[in-house]
């Protein structure tokens, strides 16, 4: 993909722009067509200037006076161009101008994606068998048709349900009904609940990003199945993620080779490092038995945390019910491990603080409640920590998306500034860290339940050396 690619992009964009501008000028208003054409022209000139700038900075004659002159020309041209863009947005219909701006970018993305697909091994395999190619074409057609009808339904339902009708409390609180998937779900999500009466209370509280199921339930506010999906969306998402994790595991181990490559290599590296990590904490005697449980916990929680960053998806761990479920599993399993490894008497002895001397026997009435409380506090802290972090991260992203939309609200545009981008990297970090913390703490809780006499002897032996 070099300069030749850019020339092809420019040619395609010119054709598409001409068609789109003529189409919108004919079927809507001539001003809209003009806006589309000018927007695309603006974007093309911008692309041209960026190309000049990059060539001047990295080309073979960089550093020479003509190259420097070209860089300066490109930079000053960009400043002038942004001024022209502001004038364009404020005089012509902004929707058309934005569509025009997006045209060359869309061309680049589509061209690059098709280059990737055409170059992959999948493409010839799809084309070789006639029925398979037909099936793929049918699937794409049905998906396009369903997506288009869904979008029109959502827009129609947004128009027909005035938010003030069933939300007298805060009519102006939501961001101005911005279409586009970046917008946080406004009051419109209340529509399905309020239409059926009595469910509005369940939707109260801060709104998260719209996901697939919210969109579906907004498109079909009266349908029973959409309401069912909306109610159980967390369960559906977590089952789907479990299915995905199983699928990856199956794909990676399907044709296991002695010398791994590709997916098998990546999965083996992950499993091996998890194995080393957990065995390093629990010790070689007990470690291998608990690696499957704890490793699965890590991978599953990590997948659930990261799933919320995919557009139109939701992370199930931002719901308290899921994290409480996970923490309860850990709690029950660690208690069960304690009873199995220590025996019932040993387990009670552990809860009483291992009384051996008369003084510690005297302290048992004090120690027993403290230990029981401590055991009960573990699942609460585990679940609240995971929920709070992931939910807070979602809320942070929502807040900054809303801020990005409000900063551009004076121009009445359907888009906003991407102010949430730096926080998405922060979200990547917290997602991984919280999955790790959950796993490490579960491991520690298991370790506390295991008989650790031999550990202490080992430790003493090491101190003696």
């Amino acid at each position: 993909m070099g300069l030749e690619f850019l020339t092809r992009v420019r040619r395609t964009t010119l054709w598409v722009t001409a068609i789109a501008a003529l189409w919108s000028a004919t079927y809507t208003t001539p001003r809209l067509g003009l806006a589309v054409a000018l927007g695309a022209a603006w974007s093309l000139v911008n692309l041209f200037l960026i190309e000049k700038l990059v060539v001047g900075l990295t080309g073979p004659d960089r550093g020479t006076p003509p190259a420097l002159k070209r860089i300066w020309l490109a930079l000053s041209g960009m400043v002038a161009l942004f001024g022209a863009g502001a004038v364009l947005l404020s005089t012509l219909p902004p929707i058309g101008a934005m569509a025009g701006f997006m045209l060359p970018l869309a061309t680049i993305v589509l061209k690059a994606a098709s280059l990737l697909v055409l170059g992959s091994r999948l493409w010839p395999r799809v084309l070789r068998a006639g029925p398979r190619a037909l099936g793929v074409a049918l699937v794409i057609a049905v998906a396009l048709w369903a997506g288009a009808s869904l979008v029109t339904r959502v827009i129609a339902n947004q128009g027909t349900t005035p938010p003030a009708a069933h939300e007298p409390r805060a009519p102006g609180a939501q961001p101005q009904a911005a279409p586009g998937h970046d917008a946080p779900a406004g009051t419109e999500t209340h529509a399905p609940g309020a239409a059926e009466g009595g469910h509005a209370a369940a939707d109260e509280g801060p709104q998260k990003f719209a996901n697939v199921i919210t969109v579906l339930s907004r498109a079909f506010p009266q349908a029973e199945w959409a309401h069912f999906l909306h109610q159980y969306e967390v369960v559906i998402f977590s089952l789907f993620i479990a299915f995905l994790v199983c699928l990856v595991a199956w794909l990676a181990s399907r044709r296991a080779k002695l010398i791994p490559s590709g997916l098998q290599n990546a999965v083996e590296a992950l499993v091996e490092s998890l194995n080393d990590f957990i065995v390093g904490i629990l010790g070689p005697k007990f470690g291998p038995r608990y690696v499957p449980f704890l490793g699965t916990l890590f991978i599953y929680i990590l997948a659930m945390n990261l799933f919320g960053l995919i557009p139109f998806m939701d992370s199930p761990t931002s719901n308290l019910n899921v994290t409480v479920g996970l923490a309860l599993v850990v709690f029950v399993y660690s208690q069960y491990t304690g009873i199995r490894e220590l025996g019932v008497v040993g387990y009670l002895d552990h809860l009483a603080g291992n009384p051996r001397t008369p003084l510690s026997w005297g302290l048992v009435p004090l120690m027993l409640p403290i230990h029981v409380m401590g055991e009960l506090a573990k699942p609460i802290s585990l679940s609240c920590r995971l929920f709070g972090n992931i939910f807070g991260e979602d809320m942070l992203l929502v807040a900054f998306v809303t801020l990005g939309i409000t900063t551009l609200s004076f121009a009445n545009l359907p888009i906003g500034l991407p102010l949430q981008l730096p926080f998405m990297f922060l979200a990547l970090l917290t997602s991984t860290l919280q999955a790790l913390v959950f796993t490490v703490l579960s491991t520690i809780y298991l370790l506390l339940m295991l008989p650790h006499d031999d550990h202490e002897h080992e430790g003493e032996g090491q101190h003696a050396h």
Partner: protein
């Protein structure tokens, strides 16, 4: 001062106080871990593991305040 005003003032201030406490705690944990790593670079892995666990415990307190805020947030506007 009625109930809503008290909540509206108390929730943000409570989160701020919790964050101050957690920040002090995290600072102390980081300080100790960095010093320990500086003295014994070969034990970096073990120290980091313990540091992450204790940091998670310290940070959880702010998270509890945060969760409390979200639980009570709906009641501010009545």
């Amino acid at each position: 001062m009625d109930f809503h005003a008290a909540l509206g003032w108390g929730l943000p201030v409570g989160i701020g106080l919790a964050a101050i406490g957690s920040g002090i705690g995290l600072g102390g944990i980081g300080n100790g871990a960095m010093q320990a790593i500086g003295r014994q670079p070969e034990a970096t892995g073990k120290i980091q593991l313990a540091m992450i666990i204790i940091a998670a415990l310290a940070e959880a307190l702010t998270i509890y305040a945060f969760v409390t805020m979200f639980l009570l947030q709906g009641k501010i506007s009545g």
